[in-house]
């Protein structure tokens, strides 16, 4: 299901590094998948192979549905979606101006602070965006 | 055989020489002369045929080996038909009855037999100049003039039996799927059950005809839907579908000629689907289905 060559080896490698440092510096991060808007895994962290592919497909669906809801509600663009439960959080964040469009799906346990997670994730997205624009 | 029958049917039957008999039972290996002479009369013939043979072209057939109950069933049909004939004679004759030897039926039958012969890439043709129709023997396509192709979807063409030909279709003839020819030939053949449909059998669809090509009507879709779920005898199908008998007969004629109908056993033995399906019942979705059809302009 992975389609690495399509997204460029260099950019994908850089994105992988950014994911790793993001996970190291941010408490609570359990796994993360960088995914294309049409549901392919681009880079992933700490998830089994099948798991990353599934998370990529599901994340892209949520992102697409989120954008449709935002448009319907007249708030133009959905930049991130947060799914919260008692035992953890899933965040899906769009990578700004990436071509092709990409999103980052992060699964975090209940150990972290949501604000801190979102801030770190946003910085990670900006760094990844740079890699995919260059 | 008569002894076994004795007392089990509504009528008593006696053996008689062919020239005095009301009904002839003949096998395919029987005396052809007798059968041919018989065919000139209006009297019913019950044809007995083997598993591997094509179903004979008569309304009454028995598939060998058969059970006594099957023979009784056929004899009852024959009895009913003889009774009808007497009544009909007193009233008006049937608008469109089937006569073997009439052009449309011969054409249909030759098409049906083509389906059973092996394909050699040859063409068979019927009709004259303007209405000439060519059929490829692998039953993939047929060729006809554009007007003929249009006409045959609307009416029965006066075509004789297909014959092997060395001609090739003239330029300008259109090439269309044989399903179209078979379906409409069957549909327009008669408004009673055609000889190639076993009137004693139960029927179900082996597969759906391509209504994308044939532009199926609502009634046809409803009949096909019924025959998807279970096997029905012709009589039960008329009852359950609540459609005119002529509609049901045409549908069965067309399905059988198109090779999409699976006909098995005899209806008398209860092989029919449970009477659970009631078309158009006021059901859970009933109102929604009607509403949706109305909104989409799908009302009949």
């Amino acid at each position: 299901m992975s389609a690495v060559p399509r997204f460029g080896r260099v950019a994908t490698g850089v994105a992988q590094k950014h994911l790793e440092s993001f996970a190291q510096m941010t408490p609570g991060v359990m796994s993360a998948v960088l995914l294309s808007a049409d549901g392919f895994e681009v880079a992933s962290l700490q998830v089994g192979r099948g798991g990353a592919a599934r998370l990529a497909a599901m994340g892209s669906s949520l992102s697409a549905i989120g954008s449709a809801i935002a448009k319907e509600a007249g708030i133009v663009e959905c930049s991130r979606m947060i799914i919260e439960s008692d035992s953890g959080t899933v965040v899906i964040m769009n990578i700004p101006d990436a071509r092709p469009p990409l999103s980052l799906a992060i699964v975090a346990g209940d150990g972290g602070v949501l604000g801190q997670l979102l801030w770190a994730a946003k910085n990670c997205c900006i760094a990844i965006a740079r890699a995919f624009r260059e | 055989m008569l002894k076994i029958l004795d007392g089990r049917g509504g009528l008593s039957w006696a053996l008689a020489p062919p020239d005095q008999a009301d009904v002839l039972i003949a096998g395919t290996h029987g005396d052809d002369l007798v059968a041919r002479h018989w065919a000139k009369t209006d009297k019913p013939l019950i044809a007995v045929y083997e598993a591997s043979a094509a179903r004979p072209l008569t309304p009454y057939t028995l598939h060998h080996p058969f059970r006594v109950m099957q023979l009784l069933g056929v004899l009852e049909d024959v009895d009913q038909a003889l009774g009808d004939t007497l009544h009909d004679a007193a009233r008006t004759p049937r608008a469109e009855s089937i006569r073997i030897g009439s052009a449309g039926i011969d054409f249909a039958e030759s098409l049906r037999l083509l389906a059973r012969s092996s394909a050699g890439g040859n063409l068979h043709a019927a009709g004259d100049a303007a209405t000439r129709v060519y059929v490829r023997d692998d039953l993939s396509v047929y060729y006809a003039g554009a007007e003929t192709a249009r006409r045959l979807t609307r009416e029965a063409l006066p075509l004789a039996a297909l014959r092997l030909t060395a001609d090739t279709p003239p330029p300008g003839f259109v090439c269309r799927p044989v399903l179209e020819l078979a379906w409409f030939t069957g549909w327009h053949a008669a408004d009673t059950l055609a000889p190639w449909v076993d009137r004693g059998a139960t029927h179900r669809l082996r597969r759906w005809p391509d209504f994308g090509l044939l532009r199926g009507t609502r009634n046809q879709l409803a009949l096909a839907a019924l025959l998807t779920h279970a096997s029905y005898s012709r009589a039960r199908l008329v009852e359950v579908s609540r459609q005119p008998a002529a509609n049901v007969d045409r549908f069965l004629n067309a399905c059988a000629l198109s090779g999409v109908l699976a006909s098995t056993g005899d209806a008398a033995r209860g092989a029919e689907g449970a009477g659970a399906f009631i078309a158009n019942s006021a059901a859970r979705f009933g109102g929604l289905i009607r509403g949706l059809r109305a909104r989409l302009g799908l009302t009949t």
Binding site: M1, A3, R6, F7, S36, A37, D38, G39, F40, A53, R54, A56, A57, M58, S60, S61, A64, I65, A68, E72, P100, P101 | R204, L205, R206, R207, W208, D210, F211, G212, L213, R215, G216, R218, L221, A222, A224, A225, T228, H229, A276, F277, I278, A279, N280, S281, A283, R284, F285, G286, G287, L288, I289, G291, L292, R293, A294, R295, L296, L298
Partner: protein
């Protein structure tokens, strides 16, 4: 499911025309979740559905029929299950010109219950084209699995063809429904 609405699901592989079919009969332009297609090798078109298509037909008296389109790729299988649950009927669209069209037919018909959970109608696109599989191949395939499903050659850009698929589904639904009630 509510007494006042039901849903019809349009499914099938990428490029078979699900979004087009829904647009042909929906009251308003359908909500779509099309995204950039990065897999041009699988099907060469700029966009593909990642979430769902959603259309609606409002009926008199406040009732409505919901139309859902699924994404076509196998990786979205989880959405097929979500969208397929409680569907009144399923329309499977297959592109006869795609190389693995028969495998796709099997996959989608199987994923949506083979017509046993809810009626299935199959629409085959481009079956007349040279190089494409003939319609018979699809009917035969289903027959070999013991399935008798309607299989029609259609062009979903024509509204009449989409209506034929829907009308057939409704005919099957009427019987299904009647049988469930009397069972």
């Amino acid at each position: 499911m509510s007494e006042h609405e039901f849903k019809i699901v349009f499914t099938g592989p990428m490029g078979a025309g699900k979004t087009t079919a829904i647009a042909a009969i929906s009251d308003e332009p359908p909500v779509s979740t099309d995204v950039v297609n990065t897999d041009r090798a699988a099907f060469d078109k700029p966009e593909t559905t990642a979430g769902l298509d959603y259309g609606r037909i409002a009926l008199d008296g406040g009732a409505s029929v919901r139309l859902y389109g699924t994404p076509g790729q196998l990786r979205y299988r989880f959405l097929w299950d979500i969208l397929g649950s409680n569907a009144a009927g399923v329309i499977v669209l297959i592109d006869a010109a795609q190389a693995d069209a028969l495998v796709q037919l099997d996959a989608f018909v199987d994923a949506f219950g083979g017509g046993r959970r809810a009626p299935i109608v199959v629409g085959i696109g481009r079956s007349g084209q040279s190089g494409a599989l003939p319609l018979d191949a699809f009917a035969q395939r289903l027959e070999s699995h013991g399935l008798t499903l309607p299989v029609f050659g259609v062009d979903v850009r024509r509204r009449d063809d989409v209506l034929l698929l829907v009308d057939t589904l409704l005919c099957l639904l009427e019987l299904d429904d009647a049988s469930r009630r009397t069972a």
